[in-house]
């Protein structure tokens, strides 16, 4: 099988997937960029080229800065905690603990539940009068806090939900990686007299590095994508305290019908993801020297 015929066959095989991917990913990226340089078309005023005006407006928009900042806190707090918990969970269920089958299930369950459904339950947890959080904290003298209705606490409540939802999913990847680690290492370390703590930091953790990199990248992507619970729990409020970029794109694009500005915000989100991709590439490159 040679030459042109081979190439034609291969292209026929990849063509359907490529057309769909181009239509719904690659072309939209380009058109979003073009859109961000034009004004929003109105019934009597067609879109016209405005250069960087949308970007200038964005930089002057406090809600944009608020959403960006919220998103960075949301990612910056939920990612490290859920990844650390994932490692702990994986170590737990990889050992010889009693009931580890059940625990594995318990940790993983949030992953299969729809975010929109669990958001309802969490909404009730945070209820200021009879929510579970309130009932739990009452003995400590904390009661009647409007967790989701206060600017100081709302974002943190959402972060807790995100951690709860994500940790079990990442655990699976760590579990897979832990099972690849040879038991001989463990034995060698115990002969050397290394305790469990030392063993974890000196042997296990470095060996998990590739997994950690993979999980981190996915966790950060998810931190920009996972907005379902915001719709149910706070709708971005109070006073944009829980608005993040993707949620703001939805509001601007589908509630305010300002396509140009929504496109501009999308470009910021895409730029952040591109930075992440570059970061991953550089880090992955560095890691190669270890091997």
């Amino acid at each position: 099988m040679t030459g042109i015929r081979n190439t034609v066959h291969a292209w026929l095989l990849v063509l359907p997937a490529c057309v769909l991917l181009a239509t719904f990913t690659h072309i939209p990226i380009v058109t979003t960029f073009i859109q961000s340089l034009y004004s929003t078309a109105k019934p009597r005023r067609p879109a016209r080229f405005v250069g960087l005006e949308n970007y200038e407006a964005m930089l002057a928009d406090p809600i944009f800065w608020k959403s960006l900042w919220n998103n960075l806190i949301y990612a910056g707090v939920s990612v490290p905690i859920s990844v650390a918990l994932a490692i702990v969970m994986a170590l737990f269920v990889n050992g010889k603990l009693r009931g580890r089958g059940f625990l594995r299930l318990a940790y993983f369950t949030p992953t299969v539940l729809p975010m929109i459904a669990v958001a309802n339950i969490w909404l009730f947890f945070y209820n200021p009068q009879y929510g579970l959080v309130d009932q739990f904290l009452k003995p400590f003298g904390i009661s009647g806090v409007n967790w989701l209705g206060s600017q100081d606490t709302a974002l943190w409540c959402l972060i807790v939900v995100a951690i709860w939802k994500e940790a079990g999913f990442f655990m699976i990847f760590y579990l897979a990686a832990l099972q690849q680690i040879s038991p001989d290492l463990r034995e060698a370390a115990s002969i050397e007299g290394a305790g469990r703590w030392t063993f974890f930091w000196r042997v296990t953790f470095p060996l998990l590095m590739p997994t950690t990199l993979f999980v981190l990248v996915n966790a950060v992507i998810n931190a920009f994508r996972l907005v379902d619970h915001i719709f149910v729990m706070t709708a971005g409020g109070p006073d944009n305290a829980t608005s993040v970029l993707l949620f703001q794109i939805y509001i601007v694009g589908f509630k305010f019908f300002d396509q140009a500005y929504a496109a501009t915000l999308t470009i910021v989100l895409l730029a952040l993801l591109a930075l992440l991709a570059i970061g991953q590439f550089l880090l992955a490159d560095k890691r190669v020297h270890y091997q």
């Binding site: 990849v14 490529c18 309802n120």
Partner: protein, 278 residues
């Protein structure tokens, strides 16, 4: 007590502590689900009043089922998930096969381009995708919910890895027997990839069963809305909140997925481990 004995004692205490911590975390993680189950099976008077003597009831499920067209939402979600599953299996298999076993010009560039979708999922390009769907006249249809997700970089990547790991001898043997290119794919690669298809299928089903934002944007009628969007409308604050009924509806919508997960739990975790998605 010898030093060895003391060491063993400390180790035992450590183990007990670890087990306790693991269980505490496990209970904490199950708490929302347990709570929803408790609330859904008891009368609304017992919401947040935990009493072992509270009477059990199925009334909340009946009330939820009658309050919104859940049967139709179930149908919509099932159609959506089946469609995406079938399309992704076919499209990603074909593409992955080409990337794994063909030498052709532009292959590596094309593959890199496809991987862009790993970073930029269609959910982020809400607006442009909405305009595309509008341009082809499919707004508020079930296919419109599925379209942006029919081809997946994750699927192509995963299956390509799987196919690459299969020894070429298998393929050559099949060719000697007279198999065509597609015959080899059908007879050799797909059967050997079965565990990966299972894991990939489960991930895919749970993702699309749970997907919310894009369906919310692209649908606006009972005939097309999937469960997640239906549930969000049903449970929105202006409907007057009865937590028992909302919990029943919540369990109902996640029920099938949860049952499937419990049934396939072992395969699910195992195939994840085996495929080495990392």
């Amino acid at each position: 007590m010898s030093a060895l004995g003391r060491g063993r004692g400390a180790a035992l205490a450590g183990e007990a502590l670890e087990t306790a911590a693991a269980w505490l975390l496990g209970v904490l993680w199950l708490l929302p689900l347990l709570f929803a189950i408790w609330t859904a099976f008891h009368p609304s008077a017992y919401v947040a009043h935990f009493s072992p003597f509270a009477p059990l009831t199925l009334q909340n499920f009946v009330a939820a089922w009658n309050a919104a067209p859940f049967a139709r939402y179930f149908l919509n979600t099932t159609m959506l998930v089946t469609g995406v599953l079938a399309a992704q299996f076919v499209l990603c298999t074909l593409a992955a096969f080409a990337f794994a076993r063909f030498e052709f010009r532009g292959r590596d560039t094309l593959f890199m381009l496809i991987l862009v979708q790993l970073m930029v999922a269609p959910d982020i390009l809400l607006l442009e995708n909405y305009l595309t769907i509008k341009a082809i006249g499919l707004v508020d249809t079930v296919p419109a919910i599925a379209l942006p997700y029919l081809a997946s970089a994750f699927g192509i990547f995963l299956l390509r890895q799987t196919f690459k790991a299969i020894p070429k001898d298998f393929e050559e043997a099949a060719r000697v027997e007279g198999c065509s290119t597609l015959g080899v794919l059908w007879r050799v690669y797909i059967p050997l990839g079965k565990p990966v298809y299972l894991a990939y299928g489960l991930v895919l089903v749970s993702f699309h069963w749970n997907n919310f934002v894009w369906p919310l944007i692209i649908t606006n009628s009972v005939e097309t809305r999937p469960l997640t969007v239906g549930l969000s409308i049903f449970a929105s604050p202006d409907q007057g909140i009865d937590w028992a009924i909302i919990c029943a509806a919540t369990l109902m919508t996640s029920g099938p997925l949860l049952v499937a997960f419990l049934l396939f739990q072992r395969q699910f975790v195992q195939s994840f481990l085996r495929t080495g998605i990392r």
